[in-house]
Symmetry: C2
Subunit: 477 residues, 2 copies
């Protein structure tokens, strides 16, 4: 571990914005993944200039720098596996401009997604990429991982909403990328490259984002299925039909059980349920989409199909999905919900097979896995529920996710749809992108020659993370 | 000029697919821009392997390679300013797959845009980025320039439709980028970087594209304005209102005169006209958008406002815009229509000012300029009509476009919205992107260390192209 020049950092960000106490460092050593590693210091810049000065220092001294937002990353993106400085970007949380005439806003990276949408709401517009973690996720973190959520099926992911940005490069230089306009064809679109680069190419210090009108009408529907396979085929048919859902979510039996167990929702314990939504400015158009989706669900043996425009009814329908994530942690007191192979994407026609595959692999490996997610955008989530104290459960989990990813790649799917690669998914990522890893590495070298920005992630991450990195659980051997 | 190893190239692509006759080379020395330069050879590969072998040879011998599609580039993107081999990609023109279940198609780069849309039409879907040159523009060329057109305001530009691609790198290596799925967060999204890189980073040999359903209903409207300023403000208000036009086009008095002169359309010779369109699966939703736009046009003193769902009526309304490009060449027998500062983008609120600025600058410099374009997506086109034989007209043109770009940059606009940078726009591009030119150069070096892919373009292009490159016009001194 390198010696950090605390006085120099204090001089840059001030006494109150630097943490070196081990108890603080411990907290910043993990995110929402299974990984943990101790940083050397946590520094909280409040201005672009401070970020530039920190980077200049780190680059001179070859100290790793890991920009961190809300810490909601699921695969270890902000875990400092090689130590270094955690840049706590939450200190830069100003909404700089909401430009209604030109239809964009400018924000600092530490702005919380929900706070941005609260500010936009008063003007009748919203920022659509919003992931499920929007209560804590920052815009900067969402950009770093190309985050998306329930509405990306209609409105796109973070990359689609980013028009431009200001980025501090490893050497402290500040560059402006992209534009303030809707279309741009002026040279390399590096702002799109920065989206999803997981803090390995530059530190985003400002973003120009587009927004869209809040629709006048929203209608949400639900359909139950006795077969996970039928539900999966319904998803494929809906998307192939040209329907435009503003949401199309799958929840399987495990997920439904988990929710019933923790909340008194009395969800019918079927094999799977589809939650679908359409929105728009004209009711007839929303009806059109909803009816189209209802019919397709019927055709695939959906039951108890109903839909509603009523906010209370919609809230009730969605509640199960909304509470799924916390509920999974309570599925079994002895089992923790871990995000491992948790957000793969497959072509629509493989949704049914993918969901079945997850349950089959869970059975084979004696662990509990659930299939759910934003299937309308091709994303299938899983969580692995396991006893994290038991070494053998980790081995089973490792075996299971290897099988999941083998299947995903075999059907032209991709390792991560929304959560990024970080550490947990590096093994599959490297196999999937084998032919372009050299290219990725040359890009990384070109932008970060000293490899100080979030080193040891993506193509640099170790194949076998269970043995190569620390887990934030104590495992009995 | 380097000696080309003709036997080796013949061995790769066969006798009939290589051209070295000066008369042939001359034709391939220009595109739709004002520039001209002689290539050393024109080679027409028909397979990925042939492209790989050509690149390997060129990289060993340090011979420039310029991939070329339909030659509809407006700013010299495919003009071989440093000589070398023109890769005529039209030899790779197969539609490889139309996958309706997974909602994507796979195509070779030489496929003509109109041919792809003709093939998609039978399935009730279309590929939306389509530029005005779709009759000759290839998918590969559209990708190289992030092309877009009249419908990009609703459906996005090429970058938005590209899910993945296969690319041959300068050393002949083949890499797959992107995915077959709708969302992806797996590492650097290099396929998005390739879009708009104007053939300087790699040769696209296959593309995975998304498509969308052909709407059941289309309604097109038109509004005349006595003041260009009013028309410009109408555009800004429409886009700020959250309306979703599928087309929003401006044509000014010069454009209208040009069309009336060449065709018997009897368009009313007003200061400006707006053509607007909405589309969708539900008539009520289309009505909603059209009425919204009509009202805004009225509010801004629009006249003769009418709209129609009837294909014949729509054809009549759009004919003027459609024939504008050829018509401008016939505006005055002594004046040629040149694409110089021809596709800048400005924020919506500056549309009116931008249009006025163009006319003001034209007057100042004694040349004829027209303001038109896909203003709904922020793009404002101009053409400069001038006597290309007269040196002084070129000087005036140069002065005019310098003033245009100064204005564009002063209002947070960007140099190119859809046509790319090539040679003609390098001067403004370099000023606009001054702070990131180093970054662009390092990316170029990382991917093309020997600088053989379309050298001398973008950040490498000369500031003063009039003197630094050959014009395809003979200018009297």
């Amino acid at each position: 571990m390198k010696k950090i020049d605390e006085p120099r950092l204090r001089d840059i960000v001030g006494e109150r914005n630097i943490k070196t106490d081990p108890s603080d460092l411990y907290i910043y050593g993990s995110d929402s993944s299974v990984h943990h590693a101790m940083p050397w210091a946590v520094v909280k810049p409040e201005t672009i200039l401070q970020v530039q000065r920190i980077m200049k220092y780190a680059n001179e001294e070859l100290i790793p720098v890991i920009a961190r937002g809300g810490g909601s990353g699921m695969c270890g993106q902000t875990v400092p596996v090689q130590g270094g400085i955690i840049l706590d970007m939450k200190g830069m949380n100003k909404i700089l401009e909401i430009n209604l005439e030109d239809v964009y806003c400018r924000v600092e990276p530490g702005v919380i997604d929900d706070d941005l949408n609260l500010a936009l709401k008063q003007y009748g517009v919203f920022y659509p990429p919003t992931p499920a973690s929007s209560r804590i996720a920052t815009i900067g973190g969402e950009i770093a991982n190309n985050a998306s959520g329930v509405r990306s099926v209609k409105y796109g992911a973070t990359r689609d909403a980013v028009l431009g940005m200001k980025v501090v490069l490893p050497d402290g230089e500040l560059v402006s990328l992209g534009a303030h306009t809707r279309v741009e064809a002026s040279g390399y679109q590096l702002h799109k490259l920065m989206v999803g680069s997981e803090g390995t190419l530059g530190v985003v210090v400002e973003a120009i984002l587009s927004f869209v009108p809040i629709p006048e009408f929203r209608c949400m529907g639900v359909a139950n299925f006795d077969s996970l396979n039928d539900a999966g085929h319904a998803i494929g048919s809906i998307m192939a039909s040209g329907a435009i859902p503003s949401m199309l979510e799958l929840v399987d039996s495990v997920a439904i059980k988990a929710v019933n167990k923790t909340m008194d929702l009395g969800l019918k314990e079927v094999a799977a349920a589809l939650i679908f939504e359409a929105d728009g400015m004209v009711k007839e158009a929303v009806d059109y989409e909803i009816n189209k989706m209802k019919k397709i669900c019927e055709k695939h043996n959906g039951q108890d199909i109903h839909a509603s425009y009523d906010p209370k009814e919609r809230e009730k329908i969605f509640m199960g999905r909304k509470k799924l994530f916390p509920a999974l942690s309570k599925y079994d007191d002895n089992l923790a919900s871990t995000a491992l192979a948790d957000d793969m994407a497959v072509p629509y026609s493989k949704m049914a097979e993918m969901a079945g595959k997850i349950h089959e692999i869970a059975r084979e490996n004696n662990i509990v896995m659930t299939a759910y997610g934003h299937c309308g955008s091709g994303c299938m989530h899983t969580k692995i529920l396991m006893d994290t104290k038991r070494k053998d459960q980790w081995d089973s989990a490792k075996k299971a996710i290897t099988q999941v990813y083998e299947y995903v790649r075999s059907v032209n799917g991709t390792t991560s749809a929304e959560h990024g690669i970080g550490l947990s998914k590096a093994e599959s990522f490297k196999i999937e992108k084998a032919d372009s890893l050299g290219l990725l590495t040359s890009i990384k070298k070109a932008l970060d020659p000293n490899n100080i920005l979030n080193p040891g992630k993506l193509m640099q991450a170790p194949e076998n993370w269970i043995t190569a990195t620390n887990l934030r659980y104590s495992v009995n051997s």
